[in-house]
Symmetry: C2
């Protein structure tokens, strides 16, 4: 068992016969070190297995690390992961690393988790807001930490945000169905973030209003009870008297449920989901798609921009969506 402890700048300096500042210069990349000295230092460092301590460096440099935090509700949703992937990519290009934390989708733990991250002096904070109120972040924001809210706008906090084109995306989907003649269109959404759900629902209603369908209450199946599966919701919708001839899904879970139920339904019910998913193409499921990784990249870019210029106005960006026709959304109503 090797008990030698970690080498420091000073150790390297001693071995190389120079001052610790010189070693620092070598590793910080700053100039004014002669080639021979540099060689000697690097040799010594290698021999001692020296690795600069970023903690100390960060502290010295003013107490900020080079990590950016991303706070997620639930890690099991593939959506979040793709966003995280986008963030990670974009940050890596600027030499920053991402730390990931989850709040288990419970509002109470949000502040606790965020606090722990801020204590680590993250450079910026990206989060998918879960709590009803992010005003607790205002102090931090004023101290210069960029706060970017992702997928949903923050509440009671002036922060940059990136969200999807929820309303228009959903409206487009519904319009494409009404154009085929559908009028009885169901809306299914499993418990989903209030914000995105509300927006998509608004888009749905808007598009139906355009063709004169005003009362959509009986077609809306929005269960906020997590115990009710998307599958059950779809079934319930279809089992009522005078069932819808088409259904739109409010999120990716709804799509999974719909696929299970609608596969061998007769007469065929048209379906358009929100959020693309693996095999959707093979299954011929039409969806409102968008670039999930781009959502993350954009969020990361916003953070970087604000880091570069803290005085800019806050921005609210939208990631475009587009309707992909694959068959399930092109089924006409039975006549």
């Amino acid at each position: 068992m090797n008990t030698q402890s970690r080498a420091t700048l000073a150790d390297v300096a001693r071995l190389a016969g120079v001052s610790s500042k010189t070693v620092s210069r070598v590793f910080a990349g700053a100039g004014n070190v002669s080639p021979e000295t540099r060689e000697r230092v690097l040799g010594a460092a290698k021999r001692l297995r020296f690795r600069p301590n970023n903690l100390a460096r960060s502290l010295r440099r003013g107490g900020v690390s080079n990590t950016v935090a991303f706070v997620i509700g639930d890690l099991r949703n593939p959506f979040y992961f793709h966003v995280a992937a986008g963030i990670e990519r974009e940050l890596a290009e600027s030499g920053l690393t991402m730390v990931l934390a989850t709040t288990d989708d419970t509002p109470e733990s949000e502040e606790i988790v965020v606090d722990a991250l801020l204590a680590q002096r993250v450079r910026a904070l990206l989060l998918i807001p879960v709590a009803d109120d992010q005003s607790y972040l205002d102090g931090e924001r004023q101290l210069g930490t960029p706060v970017i809210s992702v997928d949903r706008p923050a509440r009671n906090l002036l922060a940059d945000s990136v969200v999807l084109q929820n309303r228009q995306g959903m409206a487009d989907a519904v319009r494409s169905l009404t154009a085929l003649g559908h009028r009885k269109i169901g809306f299914v959404s499993n418990p989903s973030a209030m914000y995105t759900l509300r927006e998509r629902l608004a888009g749905y209603r808007e598009a139906l209003r355009e063709v004169g369908v005003m009362d959509t209450a009986r077609w809306e199946r929005v269960d906020d009870d997590p115990a009710v599966s998307a599958e059950q919701a779809v079934r319930a919708l279809l089992d009522q008297a005078d069932p819808p001839t088409a259904i739109v899904g409010g999120n990716n879970r709804a799509s999974a449920g719909a696929v299970r139920v609608l596969r061998d339904r007769e007469p065929a019910v048209a379906f358009i989901g929100f959020d693309d998913f693996e095999l959707a193409d093979a299954l011929g499921i039409s969806v409102v798609a968008y670039d999930t990784m781009e959502l993350g990249r954009t969020a990361a870019r916003l953070a970087l921009e604000r880091l570069a210029d803290p005085s800019e106005f806050t921005k609210q960006l939208e990631i475009p969506t587009r309707l992909i026709h694959r068959g399930s959304g092109e089924i006409p109503p039975p006549r």
Copy 2:
């Protein structure tokens, strides 16, 4: 624009009229602070929006942070994400946070990325090895940083590891096919990690050898060229003269490809995939499944154990797999 800078222990101490050490005690949770003093300190801290600087704390405490690094090849593979989710969960319970970094599945960047993480003094390093050689980590390991290799064993490095029961899982799948009478069984795998692929292939061969099929070369479709999609590989397999009556998939990508090709194939070809996936149940695809999150949790637990007792022998753990019958794997050979 508020230009006030971040408050420090000393600032709080001044405002509360105590020494900075007392403030430190309040925030470090250590005892021996009278209730009144504590109140006064907390009040002052609140007023100044004080947040302890974990960087400084970590440095002072011996230079290790409370983060654990997880190094992934490619973030887009859902498999990795579930593993990450498991790790995050397990670590959170011990108050540690996870930093995620990717190597883009290129061996060269592995060492660079790992180095950057180690410079941040992560408490432990979990990684999915990509490079052929992890001996560069030996020094670090000797300095006491637990190194856990996930999903594949590390090469040239004495490290704990958690892998799947690859060989047996695949052998079970093939045995279940041979029991139905299949003898011409194809093996498809997209470029996959060499290790898991090799193991699964070995399991496949082993099970076929048990029923007297010795030469399996013509049924093995292992393209290491990423340009060849799993879909093409499956097609190529079926288009040859005397095609297989059943196929096993070597990884999740192979399953996606197989589903696309096999859906309306006549006569039906049996299929069993490795790795469960969303909708596999709805589609009736039999798979060799395992608990992906558990893989992550186990890895994290290993790290925690080693942190607690560095002198223990290294462990090699296996996550069990189990065959799930859903129909596609129960199709008998045509007669």
